[in-house]
């Protein structure tokens, strides 16, 4: 799918309703919403009320014995406790997991049933690799904007510790045939097909089905392509740890995180790490490339367990329930790249999604007060920035007059991101949305307009989902 910056408005959801900017309330907040830069006018705002997540654990750590269902239920219960939603019927809950057992076919609904929410709260699962969490926010926000629901909880969960293990194709096909066999002779014939290798289990991997390469190896290709240095990656990792630690220390996460199973802070956080320590780590990805291998365990996210949730609602619902309003979900955009044929890097889809989204709102990178780029790898963030700063790329691939632009580093991932917090795939979107909403609310307004933030999340399959939030 060739990225294009032309006709940005053709794919917007504005076709759903005539864009007659109907203010739902008459207070000044609505007025400020309508004075936002031109873009598709939503019938009404979908606001972020708050969030809750459990601390993220390193795989094999505190949550080794916790299932996706356990963790998502815990994250929901913490959200219910924070906002007093006991027995409340929420419009809809959407969440998902990337690594999912087949028994969890109704994971989110089961989590709702196990939580303190009303059992009459409907729920559905979403799966869009690492973009799952952000996509649940966008999908539910759209439903709220359209008036289909008044309240919603978005979320995601993942466990690498309690990952499903599948049997081999040979064993699976034999077992299925066995169930259909009628005679003993047929059964024996089927069993005789089995070979010892069929009994070896298939552990889940993060490898791309079409290339066989792991995500790290894919990123190593991109990192090398954009000449991202080891030092730059380590610096980004260090900033992530330092920013996250500082945020914890000043109590920023007091109303965003609820401890779980004895874990109080993200287990991956290393407040005392340093460039020296990071420099000592051996490269783990890209070792077979011609270029120097630069990606280490320090500047890549580890396998992580965790869950995150976000409470959304219409402004009216939030006010009726005396709930805070932190930010509004302005808009979102998805993109995908052809990584299979090597045209773009696996995790580079946001590079195309962001210019499209900003163009739709007549915004540039300079108009953003906070930028949250999910740190799948330090190389991902730096390659993204490099592509945006590259004149040739801007002209040829983004269809612009020149480079897309650069981001003031003091606005990038200011409270840390996945390199420090860890990255339980589907939970990352919820973590970022809730944190950014709080940051925007604290910032309030900038030069007379509401503070504005961008979220960018890359995902397996060459996909990316990005979104704009605005302070309320």
């Amino acid at each position: 799918m060739a990225p294009s910056a032309s006709s940005p408005s053709s794919a917007t959801p504005s076709s759903v309703t005539p864009s007659s900017a109907v203010p739902s309330d008459t207070d000044d907040r609505t007025a400020s919403a309508t004075s936002a830069p031109a873009g598709p006018a939503a019938p009404r705002d979908a606001v972020i009320i708050g969030g809750n997540r459990i601390p993220f654990a390193r795989s094999g750590g505190a949550y080794t014995k916790a299932s996706n269902l356990d963790m998502l239920t815990a994250a929901l219960d913490g959200l219910v406790a924070r906002f007093g939603l006991q027995n409340e019927r929420i419009g809809e809950v959407a969440a998902g997991a990337v690594l999912k057992h087949s028994r969890d076919f109704n994971l989110t609904r089961e989590a709702v049933l196990g939580s303190a929410l009303s059992a009459e709260t409907p729920a559905y699962d979403v799966q869009q690799a690492c973009a799952t969490g952000l996509e649940t926010v966008l999908g539910l926000a759209n439903k709220i904007k359209l008036g289909q629901i008044e309240s919603a909880i978005a979320g995601g969960v993942d466990t690498a510790s309690d990952a499903p293990i599948a049997v081999s194709e040979g064993l699976r096909s034999a077992l299925l045939d066995l169930g259909r066999a009628k005679t003993t002779m047929q059964k024996l014939t089927i069993l005789s097909r089995l070979r010892p290798k069929d009994l070896a289990p298939n552990a889940p991997g993060t490898g791309e089905p079409r290339t066989g390469l792991s995500m790290g190896e894919h990123q190593a290709l991109t990192t090398a392509q954009w000449n991202i240095s080891r030092a730059a990656q380590d610096e980004l990792a260090l900033a992530s740890h330092q920013n996250l630690a500082a945020a914890y220390d000043r109590g920023f996460f007091d109303d965003l995180v609820t401890p779980y199973r004895g874990l109080v802070r993200d287990a991956n956080l290393r407040p005392d790490t340093s460039l020296e320590k990071l420099a000592k780590l051996k490269p783990v990805f890209g070792r077979s490339l011609e270029a120097e291998a630069t990606m280490t365990a320090g500047n890549s996210t580890p396998l992580t367990d965790g869950a995150a949730t976000v409470l959304l609602g219409s402004e009216a619902w939030a006010r009726q329930h005396d709930l805070p309003i932190l930010a509004a979900v302005i808009d979102g955009e998805a993109a995908a790249v052809d990584f299979v044929h090597g045209k773009d890097g696996l995790l580079m889809a946001p590079v195309f999604a962001v210019p499209r989204l900003l163009a739709r709102h007549n915004l540039t990178l300079a108009d953003l007060d906070f930028v949250e780029i999910h740190e799948a790898f330090a190389g991902t963030v730096l390659s993204t920035l490099a592509a945006w700063e590259d004149e040739e790329f801007g002209k040829e691939r983004l269809g612009l007059d020149g480079a897309f632009g650069s981001i003031d580093r003091s606005r990038l991932n200011v409270n840390g991101s996945s390199l420090a917090a860890g990255h339980p795939f589907a939970a990352t979107g919820g973590r970022i949305v809730a944190s950014l909403a709080k940051m925007l609310h604290e910032k309030g307004s900038v030069q007379g307009r509401p503070a504005r933030g961008l979220i960018s999340v890359c995902a397996a399959g060459g996909q990316g989902v990005v979104a704009i939030l605005e302070a309320r």
């Binding site: 913490g78 406790a81 906002f83 006991q86 109590g251 609820t258 401890p259 005396d322 709930l323």
Partner: protein
């Protein structure tokens, strides 16, 4: 949690072989106390009102209004739920003989978990030495009587200050608490009533209906129990604890349909954050329970600054700072209530707890001095001083120390977190409107201290 409803020894000596054995060996025989549950009768039998003043008649008629079976004279062999000695007219110690000996004659008829309550005026306010002697005499008599009671019965008193009469709303509010099973572990204590006006609850089962309460240290133990009790009594609760205790805190909040607020109370802005939450979510704040507290025990010779300072910071400095915020807030103006959890260690002292006892005695001082600041708002502030309470903390004490500690009171057993919570809930209710600046012990008449 996970504290057994009665300790194993109490269960053993409460029935059968264990009871006989304990009797023969002269071992303590703690009773299973009658504790409060909604819809139970206020008393298990008739109440005998003793005293010759007009106020004694007025109290008797008020008790009739509560549908109690009231006696002005004892009926021999009739089991009594309670005795109330109305002694507001004492002018000389010799005036005590009549009512006190009458009470004595009926003591054998007092039912299990029965109540003896004296109502007398404050000795310090007496106009002459004889009246002061009589009034002070009541305290000595009652404290001794409480030690003679058996089978879970308790003896407590009400001290009237100023113009407060025994039949005033506030004195009756205190009397009802002492008669009820809510005061199961309050023994040998005096409630000082200094304000006559009180708006008694319309519904005694839900005395806190419509009120919004915040409880610090509510994730577990006594704090969680206080939150449960306030909720049971009708309040909407905000439960507060340090972020690290958030998982248990969320569980308590969800159990009580309340809201969880993770905040370190030693943070500079803790009071403001509580007020912001209360304002946003409830539009008001009526009750503050300062329960959060820590122990960092060490003999003073070995005390380090970290242990000393952390205990002072959490147990007393945080309350002082938060109260400043509450006392200037518009949200906290409708008959507001502050209840602090002190400790008998703060009264009697405890080896190894110089820091803790400093902080808890500090709480008692704070409460006394803050009362005046709350008065213009029609509010009160009081403290509760628990004695030996069966919690996770005391469950970790060495066996022998714990066994001795829990028997060192007139009821010969440890109290439960609910016992502390009941007294806190009472002090937060309209029934306690006459009590302010005081510290109420919940200790089963522990032998240490006053």
């Amino acid at each position: 949690m996970g504290v057994p409803s009665e300790d194993a020894y109490t269960r053993f000596v409460s029935a059968g072989f264990g009871r006989d054995l304990a009797k023969r060996l002269g071992l303590p025989q703690p009773a299973v106390l009658r504790r409060y549950s909604p819809h139970q009768p206020l008393l298990t039998g008739p109440v005998l009102v003793l005293g010759f003043s007009q106020q004694a008649d007025a109290v008797a008629s008020a008790l009739l209004d509560w549908d109690l079976d009231v006696r002005r004279h004892a009926t021999p062999k009739e089991k009594l739920g309670a005795m109330v000695l109305v002694l507001d007219d004492l002018s000389h110690p010799s005036d005590l003989a009549g009512p006190v000996l009458a009470a004595g004659a009926s003591l054998r008829d007092l039912a299990a978990s029965g109540r003896v309550v004296t109502v007398a005026r404050d000795a310090a306010e007496a106009s002459d030495p004889a009246a002061a002697a009589a009034r002070a005499g009541v305290e000595g008599m009652l404290r001794s009587l409480a030690k003679e009671l058996r089978a879970g019965a308790t003896g407590n008193g009400i001290i009237l200050h100023g113009e407060v009469d025994p039949s005033s709303a506030s004195a009756l509010g205190a009397l009802r608490f002492l008669l009820s099973a809510r005061s199961a572990f309050v023994d040998g204590q005096f409630l000082s009533v200094s304000i006559p006006e009180a708006v008694l609850p319309e519904d005694w089962e839900r005395p806190l209906a419509g009120r919004v309460a915040v409880v610090t240290g509510a994730a577990r133990g006594i704090g969680a129990s206080i939150a449960r009790t306030l909720h049971r009594d009708g309040a909407r609760v905000i439960v507060v604890d340090v972020p690290a205790a958030g998982e248990q805190l969320a569980r308590v909040a969800n159990e009580l349909s309340g809201t969880a607020l993770q905040v370190d109370i030693t943070a500079e802005n803790a009071g403001d954050r509580i007020l912001e939450h209360a304002g946003q979510r409830y539009g008001r704040l009526d009750i503050v329970v300062h329960n959060a507290g820590i122990t960092r025990d060490k003999l003073l010779a070995n005390m380090d600054p970290v242990r000393w300072n952390s205990v002072i910071a959490v147990n007393i400095a945080a309350q002082l700072r938060m109260n400043e915020a509450f006392l200037t807030s518009e949200l906290f103006t409708d008959r507001p209530r502050i209840v602090s959890v002190a400790s008998t260690s703060g009264i009697a002292g405890n080896r190894g707890q110089t820091n803790y006892a400093t902080s808890k005695a500090g709480v008692i001082g704070l409460v006394g001095a803050t009362a005046r600041l709350l008065e213009p708002r029609g509010g009160t502030i009081n403290a509760v001083a628990p004695g030996f309470i069966e919690t996770d903390m005391t469950a970790r004490m060495p066996f022998a120390t714990r066994e001795v500690a829990r028997r060192l009171n007139s009821l010969q057993q440890g109290g439960r977190p609910e016992d502390v919570a009941e007294t806190v809930a009472f002090l937060a209710s309209g029934g306690a409107a006459g009590i302010t600046g005081r510290t109420v012990r919940v200790c089963g008449q522990n032998l240490v201290g006053k």
